[in-house]
């Protein structure tokens, strides 16, 4: 039996109240293209971490620690995680 692989996908977004100059620039660009029904654009990032030989619970524990220690900066960012069985 091959080892179970799990992918954890982390969505990182800027907290409310943190200025997002990139989001503002994209919002202006979209409006200049005629998309005028816009009330804000925020830019975040997605990180996928592939795990092997770990249970879903172990992955959840590890990815939380990774987010707190490195992947996200809790001062300015929020994150949420979804796990996907990959093979």
């Amino acid at each position: 039996m091959s080892e179970v692989s799990i992918t954890a996908r982390v969505y990182i977004t800027l907290k409310t109240g943190v200025v997002d100059p990139q989001g503002s620039a994209i919002e202006q660009a979209l409006k200049s293209l005629g998309f005028d029904a816009i009330d804000g654009v925020r830019v975040g990032r997605t990180i996928e971490v592939d795990f092997v030989g770990r249970t879903k619970d172990e992955v959840a524990k590890d990815i939380f620690a990774m987010c707190e220690r490195l992947l996200a900066n809790p001062v300015i960012e929020n994150y949420r995680v979804e796990t996907i069985p990959s093979s």
Binding site: L14, G17, V18, V19, D20, P21, Q22, A25, L70, L71, N73, V75, I76
Partner: protein
């Protein structure tokens, strides 16, 4: 006394710091490679500017995981002087040795030019040669120098006089025109409560030699040398 300049992959102001301390101030100074784990014999640590690890993930985020940073954290904990300049400031924020975080400049531009900063607290080991209210001219060179902290953190920084520099006009006046990057409360540099760890976006090492036409940056290094000398007496 010996200064240690930490070198990360992507540091690019390490030699400037070394040169100022060695040649201009005739101090002992050593480069400390990021893979080292000890700071033996080092009396003050400088985290220089640059683009450590290519600014991947977030500025300063990867550098905090370098092997040397455990020793830097312990050194700071023991009261050792740590000066983080530009990327060094970003690393100190990511490590949590200083509060807050950096986000992109509001203009989205990388800004490289002289700015004016006002000394907000001259009672630190890094500014004791300055007067509170004095305005220095020091260059900045960054794309992510927009300092952010929540209201509670800003209130705490102000209450404990941890804001060391603010961006101002040449006359020392606050205003959005003299804030180059959108930083909260015009903050250009802060220290920890114990006053032994400081981070600043402007580059004092780039204006610490008369040949370069501006020596304002010397005040920071001279202050550190005074503070270290006083400790040794």
């Amino acid at each position: 006394m010996t200064f240690g300049v930490v070198v990360f992959p992507g540091s690019n102001c390490d030699h400037d710091c070394y040169d100022v301390l060695k040649r201009v101030f005739a101090q002992q100074v050593e480069f400390v490679w990021h893979k080292d784990t000890l700071l033996d014999g080092i009396d003050a640590v400088i985290l220089p500017g640059g683009f450590s690890y290519g600014d991947y993930l977030r500025t300063g985020a990867i550098a905090q995981c370098s092997p040397i940073m455990g020793a830097v954290a312990s050194f700071a904990e023991r009261g050792g002087l740590v000066l983080g300049i530009c990327n060094g400031f970003q690393i100190l924020l990511e490590m949590g040795l200083l509060p807050g975080a950096m986000v992109r400049n509001t203009s989205l531009h990388f800004i490289c030019r002289d700015v004016h900063i006002r000394i907000e607290n001259s009672e630190t080991p890094f500014t004791n040669r300055c007067e509170t209210g004095q305005v220095l001219t020091i260059p900045i060179a960054h794309g992510e120098g927009n300092y952010f902290a929540d209201d509670a953190t800003l209130a705490s920084l102000n209450a404990h006089r941890q804001v060391v520099f603010r961006y101002t006009s040449s006359q020392g006046e606050l205003g959005s025109k003299s804030n180059p990057n959108g930083s909260c409360e015009h903050i250009a540099g802060i220290c920890n409560r114990q006053r032994n760890v400081i981070g600043m976006m402007p580059h004092p090492e780039r204006c610490a030699d008369a040949t370069l036409g501006n020596r304002d940056g010397q005040l920071l290094f001279a202050s550190m040398i005074d503070a270290l000398t006083a400790r040794c007496v």
